[in-house]
Point group: D2
Chain length 139, copies 4
C-alpha cells in the first residue's frame, strides 16, 4: 500500500459536522477513509477523460431470454471481443427476464464502445455501463 | 412482449442524419431500437427518483485482498443483507487487487444505501453503484 | 464563516501525490480548499435526494428565436412561475440562435419540474438543468 | 430549420403508454418534440467526448462576498479569459451569499478547464459546470 502519511485540512466546524453526519449514514468508519474515497473518485473521473487509459468496466444488461436468439447473439458478440471481456454473470430475474453483468477490461475508449454496443443489441431492454481505472493506476 | 404498434415522428432531415450516424457507430440495427432505448432510459431515470420503486443494482468494488480481513468483512456485510443480494462475481485483477461485482435487488432506496455502505467499507479503493428498475416495471 | 478548525487525514503517499497533481491542474491553491470542495459536493448531492430541500437551479436553454412565438411562450411560462424565477440572462449566439439562462429558487422538486418543463417547451433545441442547495444549507 | 420529414418507430404499446405519461408530466406538447429532445441529448453527450468541439457552457458559482477579495479575484480571472467568457449574471441570494452564473464559449476542453478553475477559486463554496454544443453543430 505504500508509505502512509498524514496531512491536515482546515475547515469551518459546521462543514465538518455535516460531513461527519453524512459519512456516518454512509457507513464510513472514519474521516480519512471517506476523504480518500472522495479523492479517488475525483482521480478516476479525471483519468476517464483519456480514452487510452487502462480501465475496468461493468455492463449491466436486462433482457427477455424469450426474445429469439438474443442470448446467442450476445454470446457470439462477447466471444468476438473475448480479449476485452473477463467474465459474465447471468441471473434469472423472473420467468421472462434476465440480468447479465459483463466485466470488461482494456483501454477506456475500447471498453466504452463495446459496452455501448452490448447495450445497443436488439432485444436488450435496458443497460448501464460504468467504469473505473485499473487498480495500479489509482493508489 | 405485448402488442407492437407503430407511430410516426417528424424531424428536421439534418437531425435525423446525425442520429443515424450516431446509432450506426453505437451498433444499433435500426432507429426503432435506438429510440426505444432512449425512451426506456428516460423512464428508468424518472422511476429512480422514487426510493420505493423495485430496482436491480450493480455495485462494482475494487480492493486489495491483502488488506487484512476486508474480504471477511465484505462477506459478513453481504450475508447480513442476504435478502437484498442476489449474487457476487469475484475477479482477480492482479497479484494484489480484486474486482467484486455485487448484484442487488429491492426497493431503490434500500439497495442504494446498501451499495454506498459496501463502497464505504474500509479498504475498498473505489466503487461505483448503478441501478435499473426491475423489468416488469419498464416494458 | 464560523469557527475554523483543523483535522488530519491519513493517506498513502502515492495517493496524495496524485491528488496534488490533480488539484494543481484544476487551479486550487491548497489541499484544504480542494478537500472542502469535494466534501461540499458530496453534501449537495446527498441533500438533493430530498425534493423539499431549498435549492437554487440554473436552466440553460438553446433555441431559434425565429421559431414563431417561442420567446413569447417562454416569457409567459416564466411569468406564471415568477415566484420561482429569480432572473434570466439572454445571449444572441448568432443570427438564429439564442442562449437563455434562467435562475430558479425554491424547493428542489418544484424547480426541477419547472426546469424540465422549460426544456420541454416546443422549439427549445437543447437544455440542461443543474441545481445546488441554497447557501445557508451547506456551510 | 431545414426540411422536415417523418419517419416511423415500432414499439410495444405498453412502452408507448408509459412514454406518453412521462412526456405529459414533463410538459411536452407531442411525441415528436420529446423524441427529438432525447435524440439531441444523445448527440450532445456524444459530441462532448471531443475536447475540440465548439461548445457553450454555464458555470454556476455560490460564494460569500464578504470573503475578502474573492469578487475581485473572480473578476480578474474572468477578464484574463475574456475571449471565452460571454457574460456574467450576478444575484444576491442573501446578506452574505452570491450566486454568479458565467456563460462560456469555445472549444469544450478549454471552457471545461476554465469552468473548473472558477469553481476551484479559493472562497467559492460550491459550483457546477454544464455544457452544450454550439447550436450550428446540433440541428
Amino acid at each position: 500500500m505504500g508509505e502512509v502519511i498524514r496531512f491536515s485540512i482546515s475547515s469551518e466546524q459546521r462543514l465538518l459536522e455535516r460531513f461527519d453526519d453524512l459519512i456516518a449514514r454512509k457507513g464510513y468508519v472514519n474521516r480519512s477513509e471517506a476523504v480518500r474515497d472522495l479523492v479517488r473518485s475525483a482521480l478516476v473521473e479525471d483519468a476517464l477523460t483519456d480514452p487510452e487509459v487502462e480501465a475496468v468496466g461493468t455492463v449491466t444488461l436486462v433482457y427477455d431470454h424469450h426474445f429469439s436468439e438474443l442470448s446467442d447473439r450476445l454470446t457470439e458478440h462477447q466471444h468476438s471481443h473475448h480479449e476485452s471481456i473477463i467474465s459474465t454473470l447471468h441471473i434469472h430475474l423472473d420467468h421472462h427476464m434476465c440480468l447479465e453483468v459483463v466485466v470488461l477490461r482494456g483501454p477506456y475508449g475500447v471498453i466504452k464502445a463495446l459496452g455501448e454496443s452490448l447495450i445497443g443489441t436488439k432485444g436488450v431492454k435496458h443497460g448501464r455501463f460504468v467504469a473505473t481505472t485499473a487498480t495500479h493506476d489509482i493508489p
